[in-house]
């Protein structure tokens, strides 16, 4: 139920709907919860849950995770 799947926004269909590519499958997704559709979102990754994008996925992920890993390992 709380499973959310990352998808890449590939096109904007109308003011609140986009197409996302989830592992090669195209799906329509509602963008109301992230402020509506806007062409600047194309190419970005979003977390999709029950047909709605619930958040955008940050591009700087790996750096932040590496820092957390370093912190936790260094202290051991």
């Amino acid at each position: 139920m709380c499973i959310a799947i990352p998808g890449k926004i590939t096109s904007i269909l109308n003011e609140n709907t986009a197409t996302v590519d989830i592992g090669g499958i195209k799906r329509k997704v509602n963008l109301d919860l992230i402020g509506g559709a806007d062409s600047s979102l194309i190419g970005k990754h979003a977390l999709v849950h029950v047909g709605y994008a619930i958040s955008l996925i940050s591009d700087e992920e790996s750096e932040e995770i590496l820092k957390l890993l370093r912190d936790v390992m260094d202290l051991s």
């Binding site: 139920m1 709380c2 499973i3 959310a4 609140n16 509602n30 109301d32 919860l33 992230i34 402020g35 977390l47 849950h49 029950v50 047909g51 709605y52 619930i54 958040s55 996925i57 940050s58 992920e61 932040e64 995770i65 957390l68 890993l69 912190d71 936790v72 390992m73 202290l75 051991s76």
Partner: protein
């Protein structure tokens, strides 16, 4: 390279292991933990407890019974697939569907709205369940406008109040906080809980994420800290999704709510605000609601006293980490995913389901 990091994290956890009870409150965490046998690869000292993180498991039996009664009265019930097989007092939605009642599985509230638009002579009820992750989509849909023949049976739950209760009633040292709930609520709502001395780490859903979450809880305890940390920065930030919360609280307000297997928890649920009561299934179908409650009051059955659970089912203990599925006399015998007796055996996020799927079949 990631495999190597996982190995290092496992060593880090095991080399520093002291008796520790870490609870997660998300069914998807249970899935990752069971699937990758994380309990078996980390030290036995570090116990991973499964909390009430499966939305269909905590949906109160009264709401399931009401949905079934609505279907039996000729309304069309639309629901997420997970909800279909969860046992109510005497049957599940799936059982009622086998009897010919109109119960349809949907992927999203928008599918249910489309059914309502396409069938103006039918009355469609959407069974709205789920935590903070799911509720905003229903708010957004109501704000966009829904047809008159559409209503919602709201049974949404909020996670921080349940965590708060668990810190009082269950023996635990810290939490892995649910990553996807946190995309909406951010990390701040956990502060009051961490301030009581419980480390909290917002955690993602890969094996590496969960291992990192465990190591970070461990690290806080080792260094005598208890705060909220975020191990899922790619999706979660401190303030969460402000837009989603704005829409959510335009439509819903907090209310006391009953959790199956746990009972009433103050301010842990969502009710539709007055402006939206014409879409509240309890109002729209008040006659059916009243009839059901009168009928219930005149009957006594063996499930009511146990919060809607069958006599031998220990889901109440499992949802609060006071027992493990293998301690249930029905586990893997009378109760299996094919024939679930209790709610924890139904969904991909149920603790009994995951133990059955990933452990029982392997003889663990």
């Amino acid at each position: 390279m990631m495999e190597n990091i996982e190995q290092k994290l496992i060593s880090r956890i095991n080399e520093n292991a002291t008796p520790l009870r870490i609870m997660h409150v998300c069914g998807t965490h249970e899935r990752t933990i069971s699937k990758y046998a994380i309990r078996d690869i980390i030290s036995e000292d570090v116990q991973l407890l499964s909390g009430p993180g499966c939305p269909v498991c905590v949906t109160p039996v009264e709401d399931i019974d009401f949905a079934i009664e609505l279907a039996r009265s000729g309304k069309v019930i639309t629901s997420f697939g997970d909800m279909m097989r969860v046992p109510g007092t005497t049957e599940s939605l799936f059982d009622a569907r086998s009897d010919g009642y109109d119960i349809r599985m949907v992927y999203s509230i928008d599918d249910a709205i489309k059914i309502a638009k396409d069938n103006p002579t039918l009355e469609i009820v959407f069974f709205g369940i789920g935590f903070e992750t799911t509720a905003p989509s229903n708010a957004a849909a109501l704000l966009r406008g829904v047809p008159e023949n559409f209503s919602i049976l709201t049974s949404h739950k909020l996670m921080p109040p349940a965590m708060e209760i668990l810190t009082r009633d269950t023996n635990l040292d810290g939490f892995l906080a649910p990553g996807h709930v946190s995309t909406i609520i951010g990390t701040e709502p956990y502060d009051p809980i961490s301030e009581k001395g419980f480390p909290i780490v917002v955690t993602g859903f890969e094996a590496l994420d969960v291992l990192l979450g465990i190591a970070m809880v461990q690290n806080q305890l080792e260094t005598g800290r208890s705060c909220v940390e975020n191990a899922y920065p790619r999706c979660v930030n401190v303030e969460g999704n402000l837009k989603a919360r704005e829409l959510l609280y335009e439509v819903f307000k907090k209310t006391d709510s009953k959790w199956r297997g746990i009972g009433m928890i103050e301010n842990s649920g969502l009710a539709l605000k007055k402006e939206f009561e014409q879409f509240d299934a309890v109002n729209v179908h008040a006659d059916i609601y009243k009839r059901l409650h009168e009928k219930k009051a005149s009957e006594s059955d063996n499930v009511d006293g146990k919060n809607g659970l069958y006599e031998e089912c220990i889901c109440a203990e499992i949802l609060t980490a006071r027992a493990q599925p293998s301690q249930c006399p029905l586990f893997g015998r009378r109760c299996s995913p094919e024939a679930p007796v209790g709610p924890c055996m139904v969904s991909l996020e149920g603790t009994c389901y995951n133990w059955y799927k990933y452990r029982h079949n392997k003889g663990i």
